[in-house]
Each structure stands twice: as C-alpha cells, then as structure tokens.
Symmetry: C2
Subunit: 138 residues, 2 copies
DNA sequence: AATAATATGCAATTCGGTTGCATATATTAC
DNA sequence: GTAATATATGCAACCGAATTGCATATTATT
C-alpha cells in the first residue's frame, strides 16, 4: 500500500496525519497478525512508548483498530473492517491465538455464530477467541 | 457447602489443604461471578498478595479454575466444571462481562456452538466472551 | 512426635499502562 | 508561504498487577 493511502485512511477517521501514526498504520496493514504495544515498540524504536500508546488509543477511539481480548494480560489490537466507526464496531470474525508462537490473528472469513444470552441480559459485543496451533507452527 | 467438602475438592486435585486454599475455594464456590486476584485481596486481607497469587496458580495448574480472557488486562478466574483435569480443560460455556458493574460470570447453561478453523490450524480451546449489561444492572 | 516436602510472608523487582507538562509539529487562516 | 492555533510528541515520573528469592511456618507422612 502507498504511504499516501495510509495517510488518507488516517485522515478519513478525523485524525491528524503524523509520522508515528503513518508508521503504525503501515505496520498494521502489512502485518497479518494483531499487534501489541510492545510489538510496536520493538519495530518502531524511533518513537517513545508513550507516543505509541497514545497512537493506539487514538486509533482505538476513531475505530481504526479494535482490542482483542486474550488471557495473557497484554493488550493486542487488530485492524477494523471499513464497516467500523467510532460509535459502532462490527467484529463478527473469530480471533485465533497460537499457543506456540503467541501470534494473534483475525480470521476474517470465519464469522461468529449467533448467540443468545439469558433473559434480562443485554448483549453488546461478542468476542470469540480460539487458541491452538497456527498453520506456520504446525 | 461444608468446609470439609471444600477441603475434599482441594485434596482431590492433588493439592495440600491449607487455610488460604480453603478460603479461596470457598469464595469461588459461593461467588456467582468470576474473581480476579484483587477481588480476593479485598475479601481475604489476612493473606499476603503473593500467597493469593500462588494459590490461584496452583488452582489453575490443577484444573480447579480457569482463566477467562477479557480486554481489561486484569486476569479473572472462574471455577472449572468437574469435567476438567490438569491436562484437559472443557470450557464450552459462554462468559459474560457486564460493561456497567464489570462483573464477569460464566453462563454455564449457554454452550458454545461448533466452530471450525482454517485448514492447517489446530484448534485447542474456544473462548466466547459476550459483553453487555447484566441482569442486575439492567 | 519427628521428618521431609511444601506453603507462606516479606522484600524487592519487573513490566505494562498511565498522566502532567514543556516542546515540537500539523492544520487553518491569511 | 507565513503566522496563529490546536494537537501530538518526548520525557520524567507514577501506579498497580505480576513475579521471584529466600527465610520461616505449616502440612502430610512415618
């Protein structure tokens, strides 16, 4: 993807275009898996970790990325589909965590089946995380 | 549940019976929701943080409790069904996180539907987390 | 009751996440 | 293009959860 396209995506979400945001965006685009803050810190050492932290949060708030729940305690993020907006997120795909390499990816083709919750409960989001061994580690 | 029963459960998982483990076990039994370490620290101030930490890990290792993935970064744990063993866990129920009170509970009656993963992937566990508003907060 | 194995408490460290503030940079208006 | 203004960045510093080493206390066994 061209850098100009990256910048267009950032701008289209109402954010200012900066070097850090462009670089982080580029990493999300070209990385098949989800990224954690420490992943980004290793790949983009030129930026302060607080800047990366705030970049992730501005992306989160504007609906560019979504947070993927996992049991490691380390927040990981994946690109949202273009159907996402700051107000409403649609993440009906399955997340896969490899127990060998630790990589977390979005299985965009695998949709989450319909779920119901008990009477009196109001469902807002559904997150389906499968763990196991990914194709690269098998 | 009787204290003697609590102790029997602990012993049946190959763990020594101690005051802390019995108390923690008791809290898991009587608490409908999942518990985090800080939850336990507040309820069981007589024990050191580290002791509670290690109690949770011995329970995890022996298959008494399971870790529930969530996006808060705070590890929460729920009781396993009696079908769980140290080697193999079966958590085919849905977890619900309330966005109002923060409580996480196991919806034991709600089973996770069948899922498939892409070719080359090996599935080990499925975790389904629904968030929204629980019956108490609605 | 003695022994051996294990759990506990305490001190201390690591690490991810977070905030305040001064400075640098992006956008807007001219 | 330049000036003005709003916003992003880097640095220092703090917080809380997670983690480890070690001496002491407790459990289970004989």
């Amino acid at each position: 993807m061209e850098v100009s396209e990256l910048k267009a995506i950032i701008k289209s979400h109402g954010l200012r275009v900066t070097d850090c945001r462009t670089d982080v965006m580029g990493h999300f685009i070209k990385n098949k898996g989800a990224l954690s803050q420490s992943d980004l810190e290793k790949r983009l050492e030129k930026y302060d970790r607080v800047t990366l932290y705030r970049t992730l949060h501005s992306f989160l708030d504007s609906g560019i990325i979504h947070k993927i729940p996992n049991d490691t305690g380390i927040a990981t993020y994946g690109l949202c589909h273009n159907t996402c907006s700051p107000e409403k997120h649609f993440h009906d795909h399955i997340h896969f965590k490899c127990n060998s390499c630790g990589t977390i990816e979005c299985l965009d083709d695998k949709k989450v089946p319909n779920i119901t919750v008990p009477l009196g409960y109001k469902m807002e989001h559904v997150n389906l995380i499968v763990d196991g061994i990914c194709a690269s580690c098998a």
